[in-house]
């Protein structure tokens, strides 16, 4: 027989006004198993807690109930006090007779409140009788982080973690870190040059001893759980030995073949052995294998001939390396929606219709025109430029339903850059709404309109076509109610931001959620903005949705702080409320595996002495399980149960109803 103690709190008059606490205690004392029952003015006060501890000792109690306020208030307090008196903390239960009883039933005769308190406490007693001692789960933490994506968000996260004294692995798909930000000319609203503020950070990454940089690499496989991830990384063959390469650039100079440069948004060509841009980090070229005649047909090989340190190896192959990390930060960024989708704007057909990112390259002093605004068709300086906003954004029919957030600002920036570089030029902006929410953003747009002569027209463009070397833009100006036709020299589309190609495959490898646009889901949109449902995996930057540079940097730092706080102790303590499989009755139907929102249930095997698999059964990974219990209700053979909320406990409470 258990030895149960009942403590009914009066909470001053908060409970006692509508509940006869003394009567509750008396009634409870009559139940089998209850060896001690009392009521007290303030159970949570120090004397109250001392009384609890003393009663446990004096009466050799092995289970206690405090009928008081909501467990969300003081469950921890009383479990701690019970533990101090030598009980397992999970042998202490709370009955909520304040928030859900005395405060909501104002019957001054105390009849209703008392009756309900008695029922609730009785149900808790029966439940408590089935409680088993539980132990907090300790999870060892590997104090090393993996950052996926070397754009500004990933760079910031990696630097912050390194600064916090922990090791970081930074994986980047491209040959250089820098991401989309490296492409930008100037940045709003301060107009500082993007590369000038980014490249020092890139160099810092390269020099920081705590950071291991794997460029031209991709995530192959992720196993494990918080504190204990095992990650396989594919290091794609660069055909250049990174250790020996001095970055002299002779090979690039000598390579006789050119292809379109992705970094320059196809506005320029690059060599087949290349670094994406001059300030690349690391400054090691890679060979674009599909376009290299030496690798494809064994012709040429000029680069290897001129290479001083002899670091070019045409036989190099991809390598898979394995790293153990405790936390993962995903910062895979964004790309632009293919503009060809919008036939009415003529992108791809009309050379002088370009994307906003292409305009960035035209305006960038390191870009293909050296920062002069010259149109792609004939290199002429455009006398007028039409900017079309929301090319794909806020257009559920043909594009995406969301707002791409940065376009209003960068279009305003483009009109300013254009005006600064082409003083006589006239810019027109077709917009739906101007969304300039952000510090100094609205002022920035006003500046474009008032000082830099941008003509803003509220309306959509219906058609863009070529006529006599001009690009004719037909559209509506809804504020004047007129159809307008503008003969422009160039058209710039503010193309919608979309998730990276393959974002879904990366998410599946990591076990994190994504929305219908394949942007990653944060755990909670307000209160857990950088966490994911998978413990130990954090998000930052535009992989979660359109985001500007300040927000991406802030999130990079936020995710780093989350990783660092995880690394602040050697082990992580977790509430032991996790599911557990009863091995003999599991029939391996895997209903629990499909039901689990956290992929916390694995398919385990039982082998005989010869190593032959004789049985399959489900196995819960304590590190990953969050204790929701969905698997328990899903299990047909009742072979899985939730510690702290076992079927036995719940049915005991129901039976005492």
């Amino acid at each position: 027989m258990p030895r149960i103690g009942i403590f009914v709190c009066q909470c001053g008059n908060n409970i006692a006004a509508t509940v006869d606490t003394k009567k509750v205690a008396e009634e409870m004392a009559r139940l089998p198993g209850v060896v001690f029952a009392c009521d007290y003015k303030f159970m949570c006060s120090s004397p109250g807690q001392d009384m609890l501890k003393q009663a446990i000792k004096d009466n050799r109690l092995d289970k206690v109930i405090v009928s008081a306020c909501s467990p969300h208030m003081h469950e921890k307090t009383f479990r701690k006090a019970s533990e101090a008196a030598g009980l397992n903390p999970y042998q202490c239960e709370i009955t909520n007779i304040r928030e859900q009883c005395s405060w909501v039933h104002h019957d001054k005769t105390k009849a209703a409140g008392t009756a309900k308190s008695i029922d609730l406490t009785r149900m808790t007693i029966e439940r408590l009788k089935k409680n088993k001692p539980l132990k907090k789960i300790n999870i060892p933490i590997k104090k090393k982080a993996l950052v996926i994506g070397g754009g500004i968000a990933g760079i910031q996260a990696a630097l912050d973690i390194a600064e916090g004294g922990r090791e970081v692995i930074l994986v980047e798909r491209e040959p250089s870190i820098g991401g989309n930000m490296a492409r930008l000319s100037e940045t709003f609203p301060t107009m500082d040059c993007s590369q000038c503020i980014l490249t020092p950070k890139m160099v810092e990454v390269e020099l920081n001893e705590k950071i291991t940089l794997y460029t031209y690499s991709e995530i192959e496989k992720v196993d494990g759980y918080i504190g204990n991830f095992i990650v396989q990384i594919r290091r794609k063959a660069k055909y250049v030995d990174e250790e020996r390469c001095t970055g002299c650039g002779e090979c690039i100079e000598k390579c006789p073949f050119k292809v379109e440069s992705q970094f320059e948004m196809k506005l320029a060509k690059r060599k087949v052995i290349y670094t994406p841009f001059p300030q690349s980090v690391p400054n090691v070229p890679v060979i674009d294998a599909p376009n290299c005649p030496k690798i494809q047909k064994d012709k040429c090989g000029a680069c290897a001939v001129v290479c001083g340190p002899k670091c070019i190896d045409f036989k190099m192959e991809d390598r898979i390396i394995t790293e153990d990390v405790g936390a993962i930060i995903v910062a895979t960024g964004y790309e632009l929606m293919p503009n060809e989708r919008f036939g009415e704007y003529g992108y791809g057909r009309i050379k002088d219709v370009i994307s906003g990112m292409q305009f960035e390259r035209l305006a960038s002093s390191s870009g293909p025109t050296g920062g002069e605004i010259r149109r792609p068709s004939d290199g002429k300086t455009p006398a007028s430029v039409v900017f079309i906003q929301c090319a794909g954004s806020r257009d559920e029919k043909k594009g995406v339903s969301y707002c791409s957030k940065v376009c209003c600002m960068y279009t305003a920036k483009h009109t300013m850059l254009y005006h600064h570089k082409v003083h006589e030029g006239q810019s027109y902006v077709f917009y739906m709404d101007i969304r300039a929410g952000g510090k100094r953003y609205e002022e920035f747009v006003r500046r474009a309109i008032e000082h830099d002569n941008a003509m803003y027209l509220r309306g959509r463009v219906s058609r863009v076509y070529e006529k006599d070397g001009k690009v004719i833009v037909q559209g509506a100006d809804t504020l004047s109610g007129n159809q307008v036709e503008i003969e422009a020299d160039m058209v710039v589309l503010a193309t919608a931001i979309v998730s990276r190609t393959g974002a879904d495959t990366v998410a599946q490898k990591l076990g994190i959620g994504y929305d219908k646009y394949k942007f990653y889901n944060e755990y909670h949109p307000k209160l857990k903005p950088v966490e994911t449902v998978t413990a130990g995996i954090f998000l930052s930057g535009a992989c979660m949705g359109p985001m500007d540079i300040p927000d991406s940097v802030a999130q990079g730092s936020a995710a780093a702080a989350k990783a660092l706080s995880l690394f602040s102790s050697d082990e992580m303590m977790r509430e032991p409320i996790t599911a557990v499989v009863n091995k003999p009755t599991c029939n391996a139907c895997w209903d629990c595996v499909t039901a689990c929102p956290y992929s916390a249930i694995e398919r385990d095997t039982v082998k005989n002495r010869d190593g032959v698999v004789v049985r399959w059964l489900a196995k819960v990974n304590d590190g990953v399980c969050q204790g929701c219990g969905v698997c328990v209700a899903a299990c047909r053979s009742k072979a899985i149960d939730l510690k702290g909320y076992t079927d036995e406990q719940v049915y005991a409470a129901i039976n005492a109803f």
């Binding site: 009634e27 409870m28 009559r30 139940l31 909501s70 467990p71 969300h72 909520n96 304040r98 928030e99 859900q100 009883c101 005395s102 405060w103 909501v104 039933h105 104002h106 019957d107 009849a111 209703a112 409140g113 008392t114 009756a115 309900k116 008695i118 029922d119 609730l120 009785r122 149900m123 959620g513 449902v533 409320i577 039901a595 929102p597 956290y598 969050q626 204790g627 929701c628 219990g629 969905v630 328990v632 209700a633 899903a634 939730l642 909320y645 079927d647 719940v650 049915y651 409470a653 129901i654 039976n655 109803f657």
Partner: protein, 152 residues
């Protein structure tokens, strides 16, 4: 008044239904707490059993409640999309759809069973829900079909 019998009765002069509520820890339990903190008032007929998530609710819990003398059962959790465990409430909802037919088969009037979403901030909704459910079940009268199933 006795602690040993089934649900403790008190004098009101009429039939007072006994209602069991299964609620999730994160939304509805917190919403019910908020109703208390805000000193709202509702009918005292409901007894709450807290579970981590509505997804934890086994259909048998509901039948067992009726077997133990409940006149009505209420299930409430986070709104779809707001689940603390991301998708637990979807599992509950899906299970509920299949379970409905079974309930009718077992002789339970569906009007005795309520399913609702109450968030942590919806104290008023909780209060209205309890009052509405209590009054409806009061109208239906005691649930007699399972009386005598359990030897007492």
């Amino acid at each position: 008044m006795t602690a040993h019998g089934k649900q403790t009765e008190y004098q009101t002069g009429g039939f007072e239904p006994k209602i069991m509520a299964y609620v999730c820890n994160w939304c509805t339990y917190a919403g019910a707490d908020l109703a208390g903190t805000s000193r709202m008032e509702y009918r005292p007929n409901v007894r709450i059993i807290k579970l981590p998530c509505t997804g934890r609710i086994d259909p048998l819990f509901i039948i067992k409640a009726f077997e133990n003398g409940a006149d009505g059962v209420l299930v409430s959790g986070c709104h779809p999309g707001d689940c603390h465990y991301t998708t637990g409430n979807y599992h509950a909802r899906r299970r509920w759809i299949g379970f409905k037919n079974l309930m009718e088969f077992t002789g339970i009037d569906m009007r005795r069973l309520h399913f609702s979403w109450v968030s942590a901030s919806e104290a008023i909704k909780w209060v209205d829900l309890i009052n509405k459910v209590t009054d409806e079940i009061k109208q239906l009268g005691p649930f007699m079909e399972y009386k005598g199933l359990k030897g007492k």
